[in-house]
Symmetry: C2
Subunit: 241 residues, 2 copies
């Protein structure tokens, strides 16, 4: 039997699919109250919300959809404010929201790196800032960042913007760790392996615009690979690593 | 005696002071042609430009000031175009331009992280993109990134935004390394120790705006420390790490 008084109140961002959706369901089944951050509930993620409601009803567990846009401090503040109003506390934040892009480093405009950083790194900063005043007041809590399988760069095909963002997120998380520990707040970086099914993450991956491919080639349809193929020295190909 | 034919053509960004200025002078004395990237030559960095000219005249070495703003792709393109027009080549790029900020992670608005990322990470992306078509055509060249003494976060006092940016830059550099090696282009990350004299870097360091300090305190004048002091649990202080 569930015990609401003993249960923690948890916020998971990016919870429409994949690791985020799983990170909502498992703690809910264990008796905790979980708020699933699902951006653009209607119409884009209506199915994800319906699945969440069905999960809650079917298993008689306490799950709720919230709609924080991690690219907006006001939106992040609003989501945590709602949780604190409804539950009087916020124990755990799971920073899972993220986006990916794939393509040659040279093919991306700097602005595309910035957009990715805005979601993957600044998104965690905004939600942490929104949650901290309440968590600090409680004197206990846990912040979890979902990291990438590699943050050290260097592994083609073409994850440069993603790895740069995840490396930044990791470093930021470690800085936060030192700064919140005196308040009784724990931290963790969870690093899943490559996670390719049950998620919209890869299907939604961005690519460099063809306008940034300086030497377009023919016969390669995927924009990422086209970007790479356009600059790769075919006539003198050597092993890249 | 200098031998211009044997000399390399080098671009150093952020060369008005510190490591950047030294990275111009040493290779110039060794007989290379060095373009010193000095933002806002007049009036802000007029002294730095005068010093550079004096160094060139006094030592009869080949140094030039260029004015790339690494926050603009057009400006970065213009600087490398000028170098290639004047020298018909560009052998080495030293990514040194950077900014720092100091303060508690929670005190910074996400936009301040974004501004730092724009200079420290996207600046290298823009200059690399500007340089690559020429360097690739040559079939040889070297890209050097000047890293920070720590990119792993976690070391107060309060470098969270800087470490997040430098970690991202390192990861980006490693991705670039794999992608340009097949073109005969070498790469390196140079990591100086803490470098506190002969540079404007620390004097120009940014801080969180007081508006972001949610619980202002009195008696602490440095905004960074004020931000920290305002949230630190004085009554139950524990060792942070």
């Amino acid at each position: 039997m569930r015990n609401d008084d003993a249960g923690k109140t948890i916020l998971v961002t990016g919870a429409s699919s994949g690791i985020g959706a799983l990170s909502v369901r498992a703690p809910a089944l264990a008796g905790h109250t979980v708020y699933a951050g699902i951006r653009q509930m209607a119409p884009r993620n209506a199915t994800a919300v319906a699945d969440l409601v069905r999960h809650g009803t079917g298993h008689r567990v306490d799950v709720h959809a919230v709609e924080p846009d991690v690219t907006s401090q006001d939106s992040a503040d609003g989501a945590t404010d709602r949780i604190v109003t409804e539950r009087s506390r916020l124990d755990v934040v799971v920073h899972n929201a993220g986006h990916i892009v794939l393509g040659a480093a040279e093919a991306f405009a700097a602005e595309q790196f910035a957009d990715l950083y805005d979601v993957d790194v600044l998104g965690t900063e905004r939600v942490s800032r929104a949650a901290l005043p309440k968590v600090r007041e409680q004197g206990s809590g846990l912040l979890v960042w979902i990291g990438g399988p590699s943050t050290r760069g260097g592994c083609p095909p073409f994850p440069a913007p993603c790895f740069a963002a995840k490396a930044a997120m990791d470093a930021l998380a470690v800085s936060w760790a030192a700064e919140v520990l005196p308040f009784g707040i724990g931290t963790a970086i969870a690093v899943p392996g490559a996670f390719t099914t049950g998620t919209n993450h890869l299907a939604d991956a961005g690519t460099p615009p063809t306008s940034t491919v300086r030497k377009p080639t023919t016969g390669v349809t995927n924009p990422s690979w086209a970007a790479w193929a356009s600059v790769w020295p075919r006539s003198s190909l050597r092993t890249p690593m």
